[in-house]
Amino acid sequence: GQQVMQIPQYQHVQEGEDFTTYCNSSTTLSNIQWYKQRPGGHPVFLIQLVKSGEVKKQKRLTFQFGEAKKNSSLHITATQTTDVGTYFCAGYALNFGKGTSLLVTP
């Protein structure tokens, strides 16, 4: 399978600060999906990236797929308390990373 590694494991920010999580694979990924899981909830699909170098934005969230299709990142600008949760990347939609848990302090 296409195993993916995520860093950092945890991130604690003040509301208004930016946040970035990284997803890395040792092999080329056919695609990558990002999910968000709120505490006590289930993963919710955010976005899928397919093309090399692809960049997609959703309001304050910016997703990138690396040129070599071996890494991806999620950047949140000016975090809000509603951004709290664990963000997972999934290679080929079956192999999830361990996630980055984001805590936002008001």
Binding site: G1, Q33, H42, P43, Q48, Y92, F96
Partner: protein
Amino acid sequence: GAGVSQSPRYKVAKRGQDVALRCDPISGHVSLFWYQQALGQGPEFLTYFQNEAQLDKSGLPSDRFFAERPEGSVSTLKIQRTQQEDSAVYLCASSPEGVINPQHFGDGTRLSIL
């Protein structure tokens, strides 16, 4: 239905008992996935169905785990002779078709083995 439905939401069983977890996918979704999620970890893939065909069961941890989807809709994950390490949240997800589409997850079944 509006979303993926899983039952029961919580299941407590004694070690050695058999359990059955049910997943009702979104109507019309061809693909169905089962994952195991331990506390503080990401979902670990267990198995994948396309209609009634089980295309990938490489993630099932042992032969005590068995999944079926006989009519291509509802799926059941069965765990025989449960052990304490089976305690986890079992998530079901469905998608319109294949692994390329976004997956819609249910709320999961939290299984506790005493």
